[in-house]
Structures are given as C-alpha cells and as structure tokens.
Symmetry: C2
Subunit: 111 residues, 2 copies
C-alpha cells in the first residue's frame, strides 16, 4: 500500500503499432543501471501497462514528481535509454518519452 | 509500496464528455458503504485518473482480481452505485462499468 506522503502519478504514451513486440522485449530486460537510476530518483511501484493498440499507461508513486523527472534528465543512462526508446513512440515530436509524461488528474483514491 | 503478493490491475473506461464534472463530484463523496465494500473485497491502493477527453484510468492492487470483481457483484450497494454511474459512461452496452473492467497487460514493473 502506498505511503500517504507519496504522489500517485499516471501518464499516457502511445507505442507504434508495429513496435509493440520490440517494446515488450525491451522492457523485459531494462538495463540494471537504468533501474538503479529510477529508484535513486524516487520512482517506486512503477508499472507500465500496454493496450493492444499501443496505448501505454504508466503508474508510479514518488515523493516528488517534478524531482523524479528532473533527476532522470541529468542521468546519462536515461539519455541513452530514451534515445533508444524514442522511435518506439508515436507523436512525441522532438521530445523524448520522459519529456512527454503529463500527469493525469486523480479523481478518486481509496487506500 | 505494493506487496509482491498483490496483483496490479489497470483498466480503462470512457466517461461521457458532458458528464465529466458530475463524475468528478460523485467521486469526491463516494458512499462510505461503497468504500467499505471495496475494501472488504480486496480493492486497495485504488485510484481513478481522468483525462480531459473523458478517458478514465483505473489502477488498484488486490490479492485476486477475479475475487475482487466477483465479490462486488454480490454487494447490493455496488448494484446501486453502478446503476447511478452507468449513464456517465460511453459504450458500455448493456453492462455496468464494473463488468467492463478488462485488465491491461503489465509489461514492466519496478518495485
């Protein structure tokens, strides 16, 4: 169960329909240094869910979402990871995926 | 942080564009008996997130998703709640919202 001091963050991205299998495979073997960086910057209980059409739902809990994002921006391993992931996503424009993670409004919570 | 014995469940629904405010308001004051029934049937760390176009993302953790759903099906308070919510959702057909909660594939998790 989440600590009450945690922010619950949900964001959406869209994986290209012809990259779903590659996206799945990449996430079965995320680089240990990438996982370590996420943990160090407060990304906890972080899940990614994939709808068959490519809609991707991210959910995580963190003490401070802005700090969690900003901390990863300074990590070289994240730059490498996002560069590899970028072509898997639709409609990011010039941005990387982590620059497109807009948190959605939480309208209900039951602990 | 989620216990490792928990299933993490994510589902999507669609709130009608002209019902977003009513949906928000209803979820600020969910009936206590409804909350109690959810807790009793293992719905924990349950959040609902709303995108401005009405896409609704549900996330919860539960020891057994099938049991969590089935348990609520037998609750009179849930029948009343779902009857009240039903008209807020798009494209449920004859079903109530809780009969349309199809869990998405989890492709990544970091504790």
């Amino acid at each position: 169960m989440a600590s009450t001091s945690m922010q619950r963050v949900c964001f959406l991205l869209k994986v290209k329909a012809d990259r779903l299998e590659a996206y799945r495979r990449a996430h079965e073997t995320v680089w240990p240094e990438m996982l370590e960086a996420l943990s160090r910057h407060g990304w906890t209980n972080y899940s990614l869910f994939l709808r068959p059409d490519g809609l991707l739902i991210g959910y995580l809990e963190t003490p401070d979402w802005e700090a969690a994002l900003a901390g990863m921006q300074d990590e070289e391993i994240n730059a490498k990871w996002q560069a590899q992931m970028k072509d898997y996503f639709e409609a990011l424009g010039a941005a990387n995926a982590d620059e497109s993670m807009q948190p959605l409004e939480e309208v209900f919570h039951l602990a």
